[in-house]
């Protein structure tokens, strides 16, 4: 479990470097990515399946990104883009084309559908996360900057 946390953090920070995130935010990006991945793994272990797990993880990621953005006075994109990479269905793309080439069309269709469903799930998760009014987060940011 610890290895999953540390590695998802390292991988997210690697993407933070690739997207030129300001250095002071590397660690927070990493934590956001790790939390998202933990939520994903937790949901999977409860038997929700990949789609529902992606929705929950994307939702939590978006909320944390918005909280961090209010507290750190950074655009929320900084935390969202880097964090979301742990959820993007890279393996789905691979298996879809693999089964297509192997002419196992049934498997290919199933994997292709799953890839689209996961992408859709991420969309839904982010949208649910964006629905909360910005003023709540602003208030949180003001409380934190007073301290």
């Amino acid at each position: 479990m610890t290895d999953q946390i540390l590695i998802s953090m390292a991988a997210t920070i690697a993407f933070a470097v690739l997207f030129h995130v300001p250095r002071s935010e590397y660690l927070l990006c990493g934590i956001n990515g790790a939390v998202g991945w933990m939520v994903y793994l937790f949901c999977i272990s409860k038997g929700t399946g990949t789609v529902l797990a992606s929705i929950w993880a994307a939702l939590v990621l978006t909320l944390i990104a918005r909280i961090l953005s209010a507290v750190r006075k950074m655009p929320s994109t900084v935390f969202l883009i880097t964090g979301i990479f742990t959820l993007v269905p890279g393996s789905g793309i691979y298996y879809t084309s693999y089964y297509l080439i192997m002419n196992e069309l049934e498997q290919c269709a199933a994997k292709g559908m799953e890839t689209f469903k996961i992408a859709g799930a991420i969309v839904l998760g982010i949208i649910f996360g964006l629905m909360l009014p910005q003023s709540w987060f602003n208030r949180l940011g003001r409380v934190c900057s007073k301290k």
């Binding site: 390292a10 991988a11 470097v17 030129h20 995130v21 994109t77 900084v78 084309s97 080439i101 890839t115």
Partner: protein
Amino acid sequence: MPESKVTLNLAISVGEVLLKSGGEIYRVQETVSRILEAYGIEDYHVFVITNGIFATVYEQREDAGSMVRYVPIGEVNLQRVAEINQLSREICEKKCSISEAFERLEQCRNSYSEGKLAMIFACGVGSAGFCYLLGGRPYDSMVSFFLGVFLEIFLILAANYHASRFLMNILGSALVTAGSLLLFAAGAGILSDKVVIGGIIPLVPGVALTTAIRDLFNGDYLSGSIRMIDALLTGMCIAIGVGGVIKIFQLMGGGAFLL
């Protein structure tokens, strides 16, 4: 030049950097409008799409100004987005004169970003990490690390030749797949599927997907659709690169390379 035009030039230049570095449409629109307001321009119109900004000020007056900027989709640079955010906040608090703002913008354009070596290393770490997270063994993620490193080197070289993004995605994923299958065929004992998945992660359109959603959510349907199509096509390009190489290996090996 009348002052309205100088202000418009500043606002739209700030917007250009922001849009190019990966800011969302509504953020760009908001930033440009706020800067214009902060410098006392009341009558203005700003229209932003994924690859262009259009703005006019004081259409009915003598000192009317209008500007159009074409902004091709560029490399994501979140540091610039953050800096511009800070700059526009200061402008709105009237802490920054126009000439100062131009200077800050110029600094921001040339701001330090991580060097190529750091990028190459980061790409390797990202690939290795995802290979492990998605079920690879430490040994597989080590292989994935090197494929990630090669991929980033390839992408940097290809960018020098202004290769099209389609070609870069197809060739990039093909490179990763070929590397993994060659090692597998040489008897390296890797889980080649996990290695490939880790290796192609840097190409996967996570940014395009996220930005598309945010644009659509804010009601910028045109820009959101452009990004969404971008994400879809990138995904397809990766699939073509991976699939093509597997097919070639399959034909060459007569099935001996079945994974």
